[in-house]
Symmetry: C2
């Protein structure tokens, strides 16, 4: 086993001693102390980790987020996408500043005194739509990929292959193109959550997809009952109704459209289990829909239509109901007021 | 006389109390204390100044620079241009970061663990030439205007008029177009100086231009002697020679071309005194050139050619000599090593 002194670690990682001591303080690495001379002994794993920390810090990932990332390593993709979204937002503010200052300078006469700046007080430095289009052109947002990873995470965890990498490239490219903007509220909500919330949700989601994947004739009834129970709860609980109506146009419908869009075929190609999952899911949704619209639960349906202000189009979106049961949880974690704020801007 | 309480000042300026107290601590404003109740009494001038401070801080001008700006108010244009240059440099770094992270994300497979990031260690986040072109497209640098103000400051201090504002627009536009990039080293050096150095230089420059403007037949000899003295010094002093050869291609020639370019006509239109100045300057340069090339100072000329490694093209640039005497001082303030570094990148 290799063990290195701090000087060598500095050289290898490009970090300063001070930075390394700081990461030790933060518990990000825990090198041993040499029993003889009391020096720190860094293992190869410590060095690897420090190099990754240096890489993340290079992208301005805050130290707190670096810590979280090591605690929730499966969130790597999520974190890096969120960091990109943060950097883009900063760049946009910066563009607004620059454009505003640049315009100010073109308007100033050559002899100008700081006191004359009074006339300029109140200038806006907000980014314009032109700045936004420019940013999108130079560096498109990558939120669609993040959301794809998120939604299909249960089906993406299969061995890597050249063909799958190729497919993944197609999936993300298509997601990006199809979804320009329409999933931006979804992205906002997801980025506002913390790792624990997301990881818990991913675990639940995985569990549910496994159950749906293994659906047998006899287990349909069980899941259908779970859905009905959720729907009754929705019909009774004003808080859930508030989330539903708040999210309906900006979050729920775009997501349902996305999940049922053409990308599903590519996901099925990526992992053939997804085909079975989709078929079972559609069967489940159809049977729930039948029960609501024509069957024993017609009353429940009418109550739902009333409390949700008609925001429940089962004809066009039969998947809405299962979405509410299996996926909506994540979009109901943030306090309502916070969420309203995120969806307003 | 109006006097305001701090609450009202907060409301008017959008600043917090804490920020206002901080600016008082820094000596940027000095409101009186009310003798009766010991409250701070803010004057209208205090409020004006705070509003200007808030405006400058909005553009991220560091507090230290805000202080300097109030100490050297004639440097306003310089400071704002330098701020723009800083913001552009930051934006460029940010663009490099974003592009690098964005590329990284497109290469990552969907299931990705923080430990796998090891393969990404060593990625460059430097901005590319494409980033630079994009930035130039979206927000062209404004250094040419700053340099114009700088070089012609002695002739710009005339009463404002609509026509002059129009001319100024043309001057800066033309400066911008003609000088894409070729004055970037000049800008770098100027931005690396501090206000005192620049203000001193501007004062000296103003003094010299007044002397040249008022040249009479009998005073030519005097200025010619001053020039010859500088040249003899140059021939003897290795340090000055080092500055000369270092600056020749990247600073001196672009500046001489700029000053003698078509913008001169517009400056003459802006302030007709400039015409007289130019004529006198040309006459002075021609007589010095004659003396060096064909007259009594031929030996000096040959020594100069030798010590400057031939970097003295008086045929194409007769203005070189007067540039060295009257304007080069500013480009010899920074330590040689620092300057070499600025000109290298």
């Amino acid at each position: 086993m290799i063990s290195l002194r701090i000087q060598e670690v500095c050289r290898k990682t490009g970090l300063t001693k001070k930075a390394i001591y700081f990461y030790i303080d933060q518990g990000l690495i825990m090198p041993d102390r040499n029993a003889e001379n009391n020096y720190l002994d860094f293992s190869e794993a410590d060095v690897d980790r420090l190099q990754i920390i240096a890489l993340l810090r290079q992208y301005n990932v805050p130290v707190g987020a670096v810590e979280e990332l090591f605690r929730y390593p499966s969130m790597t993709n999520f974190y890096l996408h969120r960091q990109l979204a943060d950097l883009r937002a900063q760049l946009l503010r910066q563009l607004g500043l620059i454009r505003s200052l640049s315009t100010l300078l073109t308007e100033l006469p050559p002899q100008y005194n700081v006191a004359n700046l009074k006339e300029q007080v109140g200038r806006s430095t907000a980014a314009t739509e032109a700045d936004q289009s420019m940013l999108d052109l130079v560096c498109p947002d990558q939120d669609a990929r993040m959301i794809s990873i998120f939604i299909w995470s249960s089906f993406l965890n299969v061995p890597k292959s050249e063909y799958r990498l190729f497919l993944w490239g197609k999936i993300t490219e298509q997601a990006q193109q199809e979804l320009k903007g329409s999933l931006r509220y979804v992205a906002r909500i997801i980025y506002a959550l913390d790792s624990e919330q997301i990881e818990n949700d991913a675990r639940q989601r995985y569990h549910d997809s496994q159950a749906i994947l293994k659906l047998q004739e006899e287990s349909y009834g069980q899941l259908r009952q779970r859905i009905m129970k959720r729907l009754r709860h929705l019909a009774d609980d004003p808080r859930d109704q508030a989330y539903w109506t708040l999210n309906y146009e900006k979050v729920t419908l775009p997501l349902v459209r996305f999940v049922n869009g053409p990308l599903g075929d590519l996901i099925a190609e990526y992992n053939s289990e997804y085909l079975i999952y989709l078929k079972n899911m559609q069967r489940l949704a159809a049977s729930v829909r039948r029960e609501l619209l024509e069957g024993a639960e017609r009353d429940l349906y009418e109550r739902l239509i009333r409390v949700l202000n008609g925001k429940l189009d089962l004809d066009q979106y039969p998947g809405l109901i299962s979405f509410y049961t299996f996926e909506m949880g994540l979009y109901m974690i943030l306090p309502l007021a916070k969420q309203r704020q995120l969806l307003e801007e």
